[in-house]
């Protein structure tokens, strides 16, 4: 029997009898169908196909999940979480007449954390919102402010029971924005630090206040929860977005 050049499909010889034509066409059609399917294994919207170790047989690569990038592992393509430069929104939480808000069970799949805090407002003027890691209420914290405000100046010995990141302290107007970066939050061999930049509404006088500073925590444990709280009164409103950064 003759065969085609590229895929070796069987075709009738020039000398084949006409009565065998239907069978020959059926054989050829089946071969074409099998080869076509082997070359196109995709089944779902977004699937990709790549060459396998067997000639004329491709391998299906199912569509990845949102944010994944195409990479190569063990010599073949695969989807993977971006290894650098990506930021994933973990949670968006609103403050609403609560004394304390805790972001718990923070995933341990990122390198760094970033907090974006918008429109934070305490229930009483001149009251700041504080922060703790891992529910730790011991005297393990210290905070500094580059603007030498809020009674903070340079980092001192760990002696505070909370972290202070300067934010709005105005109980009626909330236009503030604070960004806090917490690098290497999973490591278990060093103390932890964070950097904050903040603009917020001051209550006396009713103007803007700007600050940047460092917060520090003298514990080796990985950070798995972050608590915002007021020692008196409530956090009236605001939103905190928690991002994982790779």
């Amino acid at each position: 029997m003759a065969t085609t050049t590229n895929y070796g499909w069987t075709t009738p010889d020039d000398t084949s009898l006409v009565k065998d034509g239907a069978s020959a066409i059926r054989t050829l059609g089946t071969s074409v169908d099998t080869t076509t399917k082997n070359l196109n294994p995709e089944t779902t919207l977004g699937d990709l196909a790549f060459r396998s170790s067997t000639s004329n047989v491709n391998t299906r690569l199912g569509i990845g999940t949102a944010g994944q990038v195409l990479t190569v592992a063990s010599g073949v393509p695969s989807w993977a979480t971006a290894s650098s430069g990506s930021m994933t929104l973990i949670s968006t939480t609103t403050f609403s007449a609560t004394t304390s808000v805790t972001l718990s069970s923070i995933p341990s799949t990122y390198k760094d954390l970033k907090l974006v805090i918008r429109n934070l407002k305490p229930s009483t003027n001149l009251q700041y919102v504080y922060m703790r890691f891992n529910g730790d209420t011991s005297a393990s914290y210290t905070s500094s402010n580059g603007n030498n405000a809020y009674g903070l100046d340079q980092l001192s010995a760990f002696g505070a029971t909370e972290l202070i990141f300067a934010s709005s302290n105005n109980s009626t107007t909330a236009q503030g924005l604070t960004v806090i970066d917490i690098p290497d939050y999973l490591n278990t061999t060093t103390w932890k630090i964070g950097y904050f930049r903040s603009i917020g509404n001051d209550s006396t006088p009713t103007s803007g206040q700007y600050s940047n500073g460092i917060i520090a925590y003298d514990d080796l444990a990985a950070i798995n929860s972050i608590t915002f709280f007021r020692p008196s009164g409530n956090i009236t409103s605001g939103t905190v977005l928690l991002y994982g950064v790779n």
Binding site: V101, T102, S104, T137, G151, S232, N234
Partner: protein
């Protein structure tokens, strides 16, 4: 959950997205009292620092704005 006069605590599970708002328990209420006392101490220290600064400025005959001008 029915609102009470007790401080409200919100806990967000970042893995599941579940949010719980509940009354503070006895241990948390005790911690709030400790935190409030610490905040008062911190404020008193900050106020004392400001008072000391003002006293020095008064002694040398400068206002706070004049000092800012000099340092600026």
């Amino acid at each position: 959950m029915t609102k009470t006069d007790k401080p409200q605590y919100k806990i967000v599970n970042c893995e599941t997205g579940e949010e719980i708002v509940r009354d503070a328990n006895a241990e948390e209420i005790a911690q709030i009292a400790i935190d409030a006392a610490n905040a008062l101490t911190r404020k008193a220290q900050a106020d004392a620092k400001e008072t000391a600064k003002a006293a020095i400025l008064d002694r040398i005959g400068l206002t706070a704005d004049e000092l800012k001008t000099i340092l600026g």
